[in-house]
């Protein structure tokens, strides 16, 4: 076992799959010699050559469009979108093309593409760098959307994503890239897509989160414990499809839930989870299911970030509101 940061675990996963499968290709802006702006692809071009790990021109739509073409020839492209807000330039290629190859060809073609991209707030990058756009992606049938919260999951989920036969959006929260290390096996392993992880067991309330908000939720749970509130914390790991079974099982036990997302409140993953809970477990609820989210504004400038982003105190407040309902 090795101690790895999340970025190291991601590089390790890419390296593992480049070794395992010669059809895997890694490319994007600055991913070659430079090793990526966050160093996610560091050393990969040197090890696997310029044919399999390469720089593209600065052209997001072209990068994803070309990935679709490559995938029709049996390749497994793993393109990088340098910051996830830049995916708007490639939205047609992602949602109009890659996501629909299987559907519109009646199953004759499919697009096993894994689009990796950094996103997320708290590192003083403003709008379009930090935006949480997973809700937009999750609304597109044909795509899967994966968001790891720790180095171990990042490696296992990324390997699973690359092996997946449908297009996967793999979102890497920038704040988690180097915030901590943990033990990650050096050998290959997978974490199944579509399976949530109960990070902390509890009996009084369920906190449902993903990405960086898993850590805020765990911190909130620790604080709540001091006040004898025993919170269960679920890390979704995949937001499309959502592991509704794990959520319902937990809510049936705790009878209360708070859904936490870093994204704005409107539409989104949290709203979808609230709906699932009320449809499947309303008679088990002791209180309305509450949400902790960012406000419905454009992702703000650096000085406003700490106030704008949801934090563990917001989670504690909502959890207490639920308990005291």
């Amino acid at each position: 076992m090795a101690q790895m940061t999340m970025i190291q675990a991601i590089t390790d996963a890419l390296s593992t799959e480049l070794k395992n499968d010669e059809d895997v290709l890694v490319f994007g802006e600055d991913v070659g010699q430079n090793g990526g702006v966050f160093r996610a692809t560091e050393g990969l071009q040197e090890e696997f050559g310029e044919e399999r790990v390469f720089d593209t021109p600065l052209a997001e739509s072209g990068i994803i469009g070309m990935s679709v073409g490559l995938s029709t020839q049996g390749f497994r492209p793993v393109p990088e979108i340098q910051f996830f807000g830049f995916v708007y330039e490639a939205m047609d290629a992602v949602s109009g093309q890659a996501a629909r190859m299987r559907y519109r060809s009646g199953g004759r073609w499919h697009a096993p593409i894994t689009i990796r991209s950094p996103f997320g707030g708290g590192v003083h990058t403003p709008e379009l760098h930090a935006d949480s756009l997973e809700g937009l992606m999750a609304q597109q049938p044909g795509l899967k959307v994966v968001i790891p919260s720790n180095p171990y999951d990042a490696k296992g989920l990324l390997i699973s994503s690359i092996r997946e036969n449908d297009p996967v959006i793999f979102l890497e929260h920038m704040k988690l890239y180097r915030s901590f290390r943990e033990e990650v096996p050096e050998e290959e392993f997978t974490v199944d897509l579509g399976k949530a992880n109960v990070k902390r067991e509890g009996k009084d309330i369920t906190l449902i989160a993903y990405g960086a908000m898993v850590h805020s939720s765990l911190k909130a749970a620790e604080e709540l414990e001091k006040e004898n509130i025993d919170a269960e914390v679920i890390d979704l790991r995949t937001v499309q499809p959502i592991d509704v079974d794990t959520i319902i099982e937990s809510v049936m036990k705790t009878n209360r839930a708070v859904v936490v997302q870093e994204a704005q409140r409107q539409a989104g993953i949290a709203a979808s989870i609230v709906s699932e809970i009320q449809e499947r477990a309303i008679l088990h609820l002791e209180a309305p299911v509450l949400r902790v989210t960012a406000p419905d504004t454009v992702y703000p400038f650096s000085q406003a970030e700490e106030v704008w982003l949801p934090n563990y105190e917001d989670i504690i407040e909502k959890a207490k509101q639920s308990i005291n309902f």
């Binding site: 072209g62 047609d92 299987r102 519109r104």
Partner: protein
């Protein structure tokens, strides 16, 4: 005796007759589609009429057993040359379950047929260009000899994907042949309101590839240029941009009335220069085709179209529940 133009190009009499037959099939299928549309039997038509010479001339210069095509919605001539059948096209027109393009899931003109190496296409224009570039990159990496042939209208050459795709192809010297079928209208918007450069072919220079303008009304001229482009591509000399000047003889689609933005004289003039008529005249001048042979050819095509229409009309629609299929891989499936 001096060689004829087609012989100079290495085309046998048999081959040019075959080209003519394919052009004629495209035209006749298209005309039938309009009739079916006006009779209320099929929902939509988007025509190839006037562009068959460019489409068929180009396709016959390719290796139809190995090359890939990423066509656009007018390319009935291209897909017929690549092996799509008349029946396949009517199944698409009627949106029946057996339609090999999409199983009736897309509009007519959204061609795609894996077994004939025709990439599935989408509705926003020019999205096929980066796909074709990806296919070419795959071919280059795997050291295969195929080329990737992609077509679009001149209006589509204004999309960002045109720039992004061709630039990448130019940087990596990929075996891509891009043919712009310039019919001078993007639905209703004329060329001088669409393209700032003098020609579309001029744009090739900025992508590091030659750009040729060719008379798209003459299949032999187009054949010559595409043949040369293919040789360049397989010799590792990189991509080529071809602008074929064509005419759109019909309205944009069955839902459009082009007399709203085109003069009667202009439409009449185009019809006098119909590429099918001109090629027929050429073949007759050369003694390759006779009136009798042409009549027999038309009869054969009409019979084929009648059979295909009847078959497609009677074929079952997809079940509504089929709409739930092929969104994600089946458990354990590819």
């Amino acid at each position: 005796m001096a060689k004829s133009r087609h012989q100079e190009l290495g085309l046998t009499d048999e081959k040019v007759l075959d080209m003519y037959r394919t052009m004629l099939r495209a035209r006749k299928i298209d005309e039938r589609m309009w009739l079916l549309n006006r009779a209320g039997k099929i929902p939509f038509v988007i025509s190839c009429q006037g562009q068959e010479a460019a489409q068929v001339g180009a396709a016959y210069a390719l290796n139809l057993e190995e090359d890939y095509a990423a066509p656009y919605y007018r390319d009935m001539g291209v897909v017929l040359a690549f092996g799509m059948t008349t029946r396949d096209l009517f199944l698409s027109g009627f949106a029946k379950a057996e339609d090999p393009n999409s199983g009736g899931r897309q509009m007519p003109g959204h061609f795609g047929q894996k077994k004939n190496r025709i990439l599935t296409g989408s509705s926003p224009v020019t999205t096929q260009l980066p796909h074709a570039v990806g296919v070419a990159l795959a071919g280059k990496m795997e050291k295969k000899d195929f080329v990737s042939f992609v077509t679009l209208g001149e209006g589509s050459s204004n999309q960002g994907d045109f720039h992004e795709g061709l630039n990448f192809a130019g940087v990596h010297k990929l075996p891509v042949i891009t043919m712009v079928e310039n019919n001078k209208y993007a639905i209703s918007v004329p060329l001088d309101r669409q393209v700032a450069s003098e020609t579309v072919a001029d744009r090739g220079k900025s992508y590091g590839m030659p750009g040729y303008q060719v008379n798209g009304n003459d299949p032999l001229d187009v054949f010559a240029v595409i043949k040369e482009a293919r040789e360049r591509a397989v010799n590792g000399e990189g991509p080529t941009l071809v602008e074929a000047i064509t005419n759109r003889l019909t309205a944009h689609s069955s839902d459009d009335d082009h007399t709203a933005y085109r003069d009667k004289e202009e439409i009449e003039e185009m019809k006098k220069n119909d590429c099918i008529m001109l090629f027929s005249e050429y073949l007759k001048e050369q003694g390759v085709l006779t009136d009798d042979a042409e009549t027999a050819m038309m009869k054969e095509i009409d019979d084929e179209i009648n059979d295909a229409t009847e078959y497609a009309e009677n074929a079952p629609y997809p079940e509504p529940t089929d709409a739930l299929k092929y969104v994600y891989a089946e458990e354990g499936g590819e």
